[in-house]
């Protein structure tokens, strides 16, 4: 048995099918998957909602806030890196969607508008939610966080009640957009076996069978060229009569080396995410107060709405403008248009996004991690006697942040190289590579500088 497992482990690392392991295969095919993880997640979600609305009004003391913003939010990009969009398979919103749909669902087709502009709506929602968080202090206010989660729940219930499958998750969820980008850099990939799928006439993976419904996010594994939407729910594995579905491990960012049909909205989101990470970092810096004072003097108003919005816009526009600049320089060397370069090479920022996002949240997870335990203990009347919530010292966390940024930089650099190599030849490869290398280096250095500065805690 040991030798068999060892062999399989090696095969996984070589890109072999994880489902070749009979235990994994049985688990994914069983009716317990993903329910056995989904239902506890839903229960925890209910506890979080209760705590956010009826627990301590101070975020520092609130168990719901700790679970949401100190545990879940920092873990999310890490999950996307290692397990792709697996979180979406067990997300409580998806469970609520499925439940409502099962009993009262109209199963209407997805409106064409959402299909066409869904990712732009996601981009806009992501920007709006981040802006709202800073203006209204959603994260700092348990009720604010509760309202955000209930707004999403309402949208999910409306979607599940009237539209087919997981329309909200696929076309509207702001986190889905983030997940879509990050999972392309992720290490887990689900896909059909081309030679088996070529002879398939049932398309059970898409339409569903008595064993499981069709793909909840409207994917057809036979045609799938990206992991951006697959949530690894296992329904296609259960439904496929030919055992065509494979789940394989791949090197991080590999999918981004060969993007066949790049989309401008994905590249745009990649740049925007970098801007959002900047905003999150800058507003948590201890010098943020001084920056605001300076802005107040410049704008002549003390309105936080005005001054933050200016900061927010600068942070959003900066990476977009830098990507635009690099694309413009590259277009002079590779004969592609600015828009083509922007779209194609914008994907390379995703690796840096992921690294910066994880690095930023690593601070919350490791410097405030014990607050989850303390606020949880407080529910049972135990107190922490003012103990530090840190799991690790700040210098060690910073060291990890720098390391992550270097990895992200190397990842982005390699993606640029591969994209350039796929599309161009000879000297054009390097001529195209250079401006993007400068862009990635600039973004990486900017992040590292921000991580060197003292940061305020969330809890």
């Amino acid at each position: 048995m040991i030798s068999k497992l060892s062999k399989l482990t090696l095969s996984w690392l070589e890109g072999g099918d994880i489902l070749a392991n009979k235990w994994v295969d049985h688990f994914i095919r069983s009716r317990w998957y993903p329910g056995i993880i989904q239902w506890p997640t839903l229960i925890i979600f209910v506890v979080i909602i209760y705590q956010l609305f009826f627990g301590p009004t101070s975020a520092h003391d609130n168990f719901g806030t700790a679970l949401t913003w100190v545990l879940w939010w920092p873990m999310i990009p890490i999950i996307f890196l290692f397990l792709g969009r697996f979180w979406c398979a067990i997300c409580p919103f998806a469970t609520v969607n499925d439940l409502v749909q099962k009993f009262v669902g109209h199963n209407r087709p997805v409106p064409r508008f959402f299909k066409k502009y869904g990712i732009w709506i996601i981009d806009a929602m992501f920007i709006l939610i981040t802006w709202s968080d800073h203006i209204w202090g959603i994260v700092e206010s348990p009720i604010g966080s509760g309202v955000l989660l209930m707004l999403l729940t309402t949208a999910v219930i409306a979607s599940g009640a009237f539209f087919e499958r997981r329309m909200f998750c696929r076309h509207l969820c702001f986190l889905g957009g983030l997940a879509g980008n990050y999972s392309q850099a992720g290490m887990l990939s689900l896909h059909g076996t081309p030679e088996v799928c070529a002879n398939c006439t049932t398309a059970s993976c898409y339409t569903g069978t008595e064993k499981a419904p069709g793909c909840p996010v409207f994917e057809f594994p036979r045609m799938m060229t990206t992991s951006a939407n697959c949530v690894l729910c296992g329904d296609c594995v259960k439904n496929c009569p030919n055992d065509s579905i494979q789940v394989t491990i791949r090197p991080p960012t590999k999918e981004l080396w060969f993007v066949h049909k790049p989309k401008v909205e994905v590249a745009f989101l990649a740049a925007v995410i970098m801007g959002i990470v900047f905003v999150q970092n800058v507003t948590m810096l201890e010098v943020w107060g001084s920056i605001l004072t300076w802005l107040e003097a410049v704008t002549g108003t003390t309105s936080y709405y005005v001054n933050f919005t200016i900061t927010f816009m600068v942070a959003m526009i900066l990476p977009l403008a830098l990507l635009g600049w690099a694309s413009l320089v590259a277009s002079k060397n590779n004969d592609a248009s600015l828009a083509e370069n922007f779209t194609r090479f914008g994907y390379a920022i995703i690796a840096l996004d992921l690294a910066a996002h994880i690095a930023h949240n690593l601070f919350h997870l490791l410097a405030e991690g014990k607050s989850i335990l303390y606020t949880g203990m407080a529910l049972f009347g135990a107190d922490s006697h003012g103990a530090s919530p840190a799991l690790m010292s700040t210098p060690n966390i910073q060291l990890m942040q720098y390391g992550l940024m270097v990895l992200g930089f190397l990842g982005s650099l390699y993606i640029v190289y591969r994209i350039a190599k796929t599309n161009y030849q000879g000297d054009v490869i390097w001529a195209t590579f250079k401006p993007y290398a400068i862009l990635m280096a600039g973004l990486c250095i900017l992040n590292i500088i921000l991580f060197t500065l003292p940061m305020d805690m969330r809890m």
Binding site: F54, P56, T57, S58, F103, G146, A158, A161, G386
Partner: protein
């Protein structure tokens, strides 16, 4: 088929029941009543007057101080502390007042200065709360200002970070005499939180109900 129909009726019934239940609940949440509690300390009658039951978050209150002759006592220096009753013994006045004294020496003193102008709450004193023993319900402090035109009447806003039993302690000095008056209070969860959640539940129930009744019946063969 019959089972599906029953489930749909059940869902509709549950959604409707939720709507009905939410209405009185929301109305109850907005009800108000004025309450007064009086204690005698050092020959003074100290009354705590609140217009509605204490909730989590900021709460306005009045403190009335009368002397032995039932005459209003003006010009007193009044400071208020609120401590979860589970966090410390009820008679641990010394420790509590030490905290208040420390507070005066802290950098957050500018917050206190702001309060002098309008009895602002001290819920923003996060730095201090970090050092407090009970994570679930950190003590808060405020001052009560003499209301102009109404001698003996002091007003302020006190913040409670969690629901449950609390001890509200008035620390006041009159003509050099320092006195303490304690008021055990029950703090309820904020009605605004209840109202917001009720509104969302109502909205979602309406959505589910609407979907349930408007769902097309399958065409039988």
């Amino acid at each position: 088929m019959a089972q599906t129909k029953s489930i749909r009726w059940l869902i509709s019934g549950l959604a409707l029941s939720l709507l009905i239940l939410m209405l009185p609940g929301t109305a109850l949440a907005s009800s108000e009543s004025e309450e007064s509690t009086m204690v005698t300390v050092g020959g003074y009658y100290v009354s705590l007057v609140v217009s509605k039951p204490f909730k989590t978050g900021g709460n306005p209150f009045h403190l009335q101080i009368l002397d032995e002759m039932a005459e209003p006592v003006g010009g007193a220096q009044v400071k208020i502390s609120a401590t979860p009753s589970s966090a410390m013994p009820a008679n641990d006045t010394q420790h509590q007042m030490e905290n208040m004294e420390n507070m005066e020496n802290m950098e957050n003193m500018e917050n206190m200065e702001n309060m002098e102008n309008g009895a602002d709450e001290m819920s923003g004193m996060r730095g201090m709360q970090h050092d407090m023993p009970n994570m679930d319900a950190a003590p808060t402090y405020t001052s009560a200002n003499d209301m102009s035109g109404q001698p003996g009447d002091y007003a302020g806003i006190i913040a409670f970070s969690a629901a449950g039993p609390w001890v509200l302690k008035a620390h006041f000095s009159i003509d050099g005499q320092v006195l303490d008056a304690e008021f055990p209070v029950d703090v309820e969860a904020s009605s605004s939180a209840f109202a917001i959640l009720a509104w969302f539940i109502f909205l979602n129930a309406v959505l589910i109900w609407a979907a349930s009744i408007s769902r097309q019946k399958p065409v039988s063969a």
